[in-house]
């Protein structure tokens, strides 16, 4: 095609001139700014603007590029979405494995035993957040009587272990805080959350038992624990303690202390929630440390506290309220 064409000027628009060539073609040519403006009807010679060609090409390329970008993005998005970054295994008795992506969405849920299968048949966990999924599983397990009153009594713990990328299950933790369940969350071997339905400081009481065999101390400990429990699980303040050791102790304690103590306890627990709360937090932290067997020596306070937990508790209690000190005194006697 000839690059320059000459023809009759039919129309002038901005920098383009519309020509009708002698061979009956209508063309668009570029207006030469250096030359004077041609008059309509005169002959003009200019470079052809291959408008249609270029335009369609640009559109073509743009559309192809857009398509590629779209497929890449959607492919990448799908890949990112369906790439499991962490695995959460929840074992109540049914064991369910949830795989989640970067956005904490469950992308696949596999039962690891028959009961798990039963639960998964009834609920769909896909595309829900891990936290929601866990809550759903727990709710379903309760409905299916996997979790019943015996569950806590039989000293069973809901174990949740996270492998892969760390997940924060804060909303789930908040939710189970309101529940009467023992829950242990294990993140790549580190226990980040542990809650015993009956005994918040179960592990610390273990320590105590190891350290001292003073039954009176146990009593005080149980006092404290009970108080904590009432705070954490308001309905279940008097449920049996989970830990075997403490349980044993409790049996004996209950016999001896029930009559003179329980009333006090309940009253106190409501009165001194705030104080107990702080204790709880400390205790749980301590618990984690102990369970891990990675006792941080720098956190001397905590260790100290673990070692002399009972005494400390006593002190605290005495500091906190007169009732406690009274009951403690009684026990010491």
């Amino acid at each position: 095609m000839v690059n320059t064409r000459s023809g009759l000027v039919m129309k002038i628009e901005h920098s383009t001139v519309y020509l009708m060539t002698a061979d009956g073609e209508f063309v668009k040519v570029r207006l030469d700014k250096k030359e004077s403006l041609p008059i309509i009807g005169s002959e003009y010679c200019g470079k052809v603007i291959k408008n249609t060609f270029i335009k369609s090409n640009i559109i073509k390329y743009a559309s192809v590029a857009c398509l590629m970008l779209f497929t890449l993005l959607s492919g990448g998005g799908a890949y990112a979405y369906y790439k499991p970054v962490s695995t959460v295994t929840i074992s109540i008795n049914p064991v369910i494995e949830l795989k989640s992506n970067v956005w904490k969405k469950v992308i696949s849920a596999n039962p690891l035993n028959g009961d798990g299968k039963r639960i998964l048949q009834e609920i769909s966990l896909k595309n829900k957040t891990v936290e929601d999924a866990l809550i759903l599983v727990l709710a379903q397990a309760k409905k299916d009587k996997f979790i019943n009153e015996n569950y806590n009594k039989n000293n069973k713990t809901v174990e949740i272990s996270i492998k892969g990328k760390e997940l924060s299950l804060s909303s789930f933790e908040k939710k189970i805080n309101e529940d009467a369940l023992s829950v242990k969350i294990d993140n790549n071997g580190t226990i980040i959350y542990n809650k015993n339905s009956k005994n918040e400081s179960g592990s610390s009481s273990d320590n105590i038992k190891d350290n001292t065999n003073n039954s009176k101390k146990y009593n005080t400990d149980i006092d404290k624990n009970d108080a904590n429990d009432t705070q954490a699980n308001p309905g279940n303040g008097n449920l049996p303690v989970k830990n075997e050791n403490t349980q044993k102790n409790q049996d004996s304690n209950n016999n001896s202390n029930k009559n003179n103590k329980v009333n006090n306890k309940n009253d106190n627990s409501t009165n001194y929630n705030s104080n107990d709360k702080s204790n709880n937090y400390n205790d749980t932290k301590v618990k984690e440390k102990n369970n891990d067997d990675t006792i941080d020596i720098t956190s001397k306070n905590k260790n100290d506290r673990n070692d002399e937990d009972s005494e400390k508790n006593n002190h605290k209690n005495s500091n906190n309220n007169g009732h406690y000190s009274e009951s403690k005194d009684k026990k010491y006697k």
Binding site: K11, G24, E25, F26, S42
Partner: protein, 228 residues
């Protein structure tokens, strides 16, 4: 140009003097050697030249360019009316060499005058196109660039512009009677629909006697494969 002085002698003499000019234009359009004795085209051209002499006004620019326009148009009209019309083509290669002598005599003023005439024509033409919802932008998009296509469409439009029924339909309905054209020319419906804008434009140019300059600007020649 002091044409009036030349007329003083006699119009016959003037025409006699310019017979060569008429011949060159006619033969360039018909693309063959003609004989004064046998060929209608020459007599048509002669009549047109005579007409030019009669109607020529100074303001219409150079006389010879005017005469050329009139001769061309007369020939095209003749082709249109003739029952056996030749195969026409757009000619793009020879740049009106036969006109060199008269072109040299064109002054700047005369060119301007000619352009003004064309300008008026183009204005009316573009206004008419607007009625058909066409514009030069659209025409640029939908005008053929392939030579064969162009010639085919030229002949098609030429035949159509002869048919008063088609032209009337066009003027009344502002669109092409595609079906009629199909029947008349035996062309593919698809082809006509594809180039309908271009065909319409060509028919407008050919059928309207106002557009003499536009028509003459189109370098229409008789094709080689014409069944003449």
């Amino acid at each position: 140009m002091v044409l009036s002085e030349e007329f003083i002698g006699s119009k016959d003499d003037f025409i006699e003097k310019n017979k060569k000019f008429i011949y060159s234009i006619t033969s360039s359009i018909c693309k063959r050697n003609l004989q004064w004795e046998n060929d209608d085209e020459l007599s048509i051209a002669l009549i047109a030249f005579n007409n030019a002499c009669k109607t020529y006004v100074e303001s219409k620019g150079n006389f010879f360019s005017y005469a050329k326009v009139l001769i061309k148009n007369a020939l095209i009209d003749y082709f249109r009316k003739a029952s056996n019309n030749p195969y026409l083509i757009f000619n793009s290669d020879d740049k009106e060499l036969e006109f060199i002598d008269s072109k040299n005599s064109l002054t700047n003023y005369e060119i301007q005058q000619e352009n003004l005439k064309r300008n008026e024509e183009i204005m009316t033409f573009s206004n008419e196109l607007k009625e058909y919802k066409l514009s030069f932008e659209v025409l640029v998009e939908s005008s053929p660039s392939h030579k064969d296509t162009k010639d085919k469409l030229l002949n098609l439009a030429f035949i159509c512009s002869k048919e008063t029924s088609i032209v009337d339909y066009m003027y009344n309905n502002k669109m092409l009677p595609v079906k009629q054209i199909c029947l008349l020319t035996g062309e593919n419906r698809k082809l006509i629909e594809k180039w309908r804008r271009y065909i319409l434009t060509l028919i407008l140019i050919f059928s309207n006697s106002e557009y003499i300059y536009l028509r003459s600007y189109l370098n229409i020649k008789v094709g080689d494969n014409g069944e003449y």
